[in-house]
Subunit: 234 residues, 2 copies
DNA sequence: CCAAAAGTGTTATGCTTACACCCATGT
DNA sequence: ACATGGGTGTAAGCATAACACTTTTGG
């Protein structure tokens, strides 16, 4: 059991944490590093670090991530909850603001020795309160895939519907029909056909049309699905 | 122009802020207090204060609110964004975590001299970054009214559909049909008839049935409105 | 008897899932 | 030819908005 050294009385520190998600090998995976020292030696942790005096939380996450993942490869970054339980860190009082970061499936950033991608549905033991944070990040992603264009942050610049379907399937954790996915995204005018064709699997089959997302910034497409304002006629 | 006293070099402090909303006089209003001193002397500010060593953010907001609004009257409290721009406070480096608080329309807490309710669609000049925070809080409320039972936090224990319609109208900022509101909420099994009747306006008219919300805790009713898992047949 | 408000019945609409069927390519 | 995927057409389901009409009360 780890104990708090007397010299380190609780001093409030603000940290940032990133749940960096990417679809790799057809599964939604998270970037984690293995702690060498107590507390939680041997456990896996979300990347992050301490907030400095002259930066915003967003700048801080990107700075800390630059060590693990090339910043340019994080296609979407979004603030999640700020955790504040005084007991969440046994060593010192520490607030932590969590972020969701998404990396397109075609990126393969070099990561340090102690760092690895782990499937989110088969996690090792996580340090601190990092497991609920990571699961909350996945829920946020799953929710937003339905009413925004957030798929762009999981997908390469261009892709076929079969490839996109596989990304959505991995992220959502259930079967997705390429047919219906195409219709939903086209109707919402989020996808643009590039005009080119590409072959998907190894076997034969008709070559697939190649698409791209119209914009690579978050757009909400469905906000007022219900209890929407009355339609003004004349 | 206000200048930073030398003695107060930038020291990171963590504050909490609450956007406390209530429907009063048929309008969505926010609780604000008027600053007496610089910076932003004379401007209106969200209630809040500094986070102490041994409390969570949630405990801190409720503690600070206890001065302005009776805690028991805050029916729903929810964390919003944590703001971190180093320049957001000209005096000292200060992070602030914002909250959305909702007060039922039948509560009328006594508030201090410098504190008043202001319609959110007609705000006075606000201090710091409080205006964007307040508007974000309203957006969160508007969004969640559609896919959760959050109406309970705006409504008294019991109410008629006409009363509830007026609350939704004020919060959403557009006309709401009592007929359709009733059907939506009943279908989702959020409302329970109490069996009693009540008269609404002053004129004649049929007395209205009185309802209550089945639960007074947040429930998400609609999460997978779209891109939902395939239905499993057999 | 008439005005006012509540509540019910019914239709229209829009978006989505489900599924049958046709299309293009490799072996 | 036939297997393998891609793509289109179409029907069905479902929730909600819209609106006409009935019910119940006060004056």
């Amino acid at each position: 059991m780890y104990t708090v050294p007397d010299s380190q009385a609780k001093t409030a520190v603000h940290a940032v944490l990133a749940a960096v998600l990417q679809v790799r090998d057809g599964r939604l995976q998270a970037l984690l590093w293995q702690r060498g020292r107590d507390p939680y030696a041997g456990a896996w942790a979300l990347p992050g670090g301490v907030l400095e005096e002259d930066e915003t939380l967003e700048e801080s996450v990107l700075r800390h991530l630059a060590d693990k993942v090339d910043v340019r490869e994080v296609a979407h970054l979004e603030q999640l909850e700020t955790r504040s339980d005084p007991e969440r860190n046994p060593v010192r009082r520490e607030l932590a603001t969590a972020f969701l970061g998404l990396v397109p499936s075609d990126a393969d950033p070099a990561v340090p020795e102690d760092t690895r991608w782990h499937p989110v549905d088969d996690l090792p033991g996580l340090a601190y309160d990092h497991e609920p944070i990571l699961l909350a990040a996945r829920e946020r992603l799953r929710g937003k895939l339905g009413y925004t264009n957030l798929g762009f942050a999981l997908a390469p610049e261009t892709f076929t519907m079969a490839e996109l379907r596989d990304l959505y399937t991995a992220a959502l954790g259930h079967a997705v029909s390429a047919t219906n996915l195409q219709r939903v995204l086209l109707r919402r005018e989020l996808l643009q056909p590039t005009g080119t064709l590409r072959r998907y699997g190894r076997g034969g089959g008709r070559p697939a049309a190649v698409y791209r997302f119209g914009t690579r910034e978050l757009e909400i497409t469905d906000q007022f699905a219900v209890l929407r304002p009355p339609t003004i006629t004349r």
